[in-house]
């Protein structure tokens, strides 16, 4: 049996729906991982001990265990304590928190790298520490961290395929569904790979845009 790409158009709607899910989940999880990364970083650096410790536990769980296990835990495990999340929500939360922990590490380093004089200048004007962090330190730290966070987001895109195991019909699962009907794994996996590649390119393009915009202001 040779290769036959001509059957693809018949299943393109399934695949494109998968693309849409992948893009949606990736964007939502990326946003969560970014916001969560900032929050975790601020907690790790500035929160009192009683708040910091539980977060260190969360950090340990999300860094030290497989993402797959985390997704199972959030989707299947939480049901037992009465939290029944739709699969895609569980997927977004799992991916988002997992990468938030990685982003938090980057943001912490970059907060500490902001010149001490910046905090001092802000405090001298009368800003509280929280206000100075929010308006002066964190915006600069976040700007410095766009390139490495961009790399994390591409890893996030790739790992979004894992949410297929909890039944979200994202790109990889859609390809598998099409393969189940046609028995043509090569064609559809290649097609899926091509779509991942295109999404990847788009993300890099967006990242470059952001980098260019913030480079003027540094």
């Amino acid at each position: 049996m040779g290769l036959d790409f001509s059957i693809i158009p018949d299943y393109l709607d399934i695949i494109l729906l998968g693309v849409a899910w992948t893009v949606g989940i990736t964007l939502a999880a990326a946003a969560l991982s970014f916001a969560g990364g900032v929050v975790f970083a601020v907690i790790a650096l500035y929160a009192p001990w009683v708040i910091r410790q539980p977060f260190r536990l969360i950090e340990f769980v999300f860094m030290g265990t497989p993402l797959l296990l985390q997704l199972f835990l959030i989707y299947f495990g939480l049901v037992q304590i009465g939290i029944d999340l739709p699969a895609f929500v569980a997927g977004i939360i799992g991916l988002g928190l997992h990468f938030a922990v990685y982003n938090s590490e980057l943001i912490q380093t970059s907060i500490l790298a902001v010149d001490r004089g910046q905090m001092e200048a802000a405090r001298t004007l009368g800003l509280s520490r929280g206000q100075a962090l929010r308006k002066v330190v964190i915006p600069q730290a976040v700007r410095a961290v766009v390139p490495p966070i961009g790399n994390n987001m591409i890893a996030l895109l790739k790992d979004s395929a894992l949410v297929s195991v909890i039944g979200v019909s994202e790109l990889t699962l859609s390809a598998q569904r099409a393969i189940g009907k046609t028995y043509r794994p090569f064609e559809f996996y290649i097609l899926a790979a091509a779509f991942y590649y295109v999404i990847n390119l788009c993300m890099e393009w967006v990242q470059r845009k952001i980098e260019r915009r913030i480079s003027i202001s540094r």
């Binding site: 001092e120 405090r123 001298t124 202001s217």
Partner: protein, 256 residues
């Protein structure tokens, strides 16, 4: 509570970093509208003294009073934060390395604190930024980022940023030391203008000519103490202490 008549009143200021005593029982008063210069070699404690006035480097002993209110009074943490933020709004500070916010334009550098702390609307804040930046001759660059400005221009924006909070007192910590020589004058001009407006200022500087021309009084600090103080014409021309003479002589040689 002691009655308190001086505008700035530093009483027996003492500061140690660990075992290093940087300020040794310094007392100093400044009246409203006065301009006081502080000179002295590097490491003598000038910055530490200046930074004690708005509690950036809290004293380990002694008191700082501003306009009848003790700056470094003992309060529970929360209340102290509130108190010190209110005090700092009244004291402008200008740093050697400008410390402009690099992610904000000149305008935003100036408007941020007034909008945040005084609740100014965007329009009112814009008007304020235009006024203040015009005053320091930077109106044309109002929408430039710090990275697009020269050192002298940055420092002028930093002064405008401080003035926008309408401080009662301005502190300058070697405002021109990091500048190329040809850029010093434009910043000095701004400071002279403030002097003409009778802004109360404490100026740490290495520029004796400038200090002589704007200051009512000059202090010479060495190793954490005020060795000598007086009007500039006396302190520079006719110092009474050997250490002052030696410092001025070395400084003069260094300048040549």
């Amino acid at each position: 509570m002691t009655e308190q008549t001086h505008f700035v009143d530093i009483r027996h200021a003492q500061k140690s970093f660990g075992s290093l005593e940087v300020l040794k029982d310094i007392s100093l008063t400044v009246e409203r509208g006065q301009i006081v210069g502080i000179i002295g070699s590097s490491g003598s404690g000038k910055s530490t003294l200046l930074r004690a006035i708005n509690d950036l480097d809290p004293l380990t002993g002694g008191e700082v009073w501003l306009d009848g209110v003790q700056v470094n009074k003992t309060l529970p943490h929360r209340q102290y934060e509130k108190h010190i933020n209110a005090m700092r709004q009244q004291v402008g500070m200008v740093f050697q390395h400008f410390n402009l916010f690099p992610h904000m334009t000149a305008r935003q550098n100036v408007t941020m604190a007034p909008m945040m702390l005084k609740g100014l609307s965007q329009e009112a804040a814009d008007k304020l930024a235009e006024e203040q930046l015009d005053k320091v001759g930077m109106l044309e660059r109002i929408d430039y980022y710090p990275s697009q400005l020269s050192g002298g221009q940055k420092q002028r924006v930093a002064i405008a940023r401080a003035l926008a909070m309408e401080p009662k007192l301005m502190l300058f910590d070697e405002a021109t030391s990091a500048l190329d020589p040809e850029l010093v004058e434009e910043v000095n001009m701004v400071m002279k203008k403030l002097a003409e407006e009778h802004m109360t200022m404490i100026i740490v500087t290495h520029e004796m000519d400038f200090a002589a021309s704007v200051c009512d009084r000059v202090l010479f600090m060495d190793k954490g103490v005020v060795v000598e103080e007086g009007p500039p014409e006396v302190l520079f021309r006719n110092p009474s202490k050997d250490r002052t003479r030696e410092f001025l002589r070395k400084h003069l040689e260094g300048a040549k």
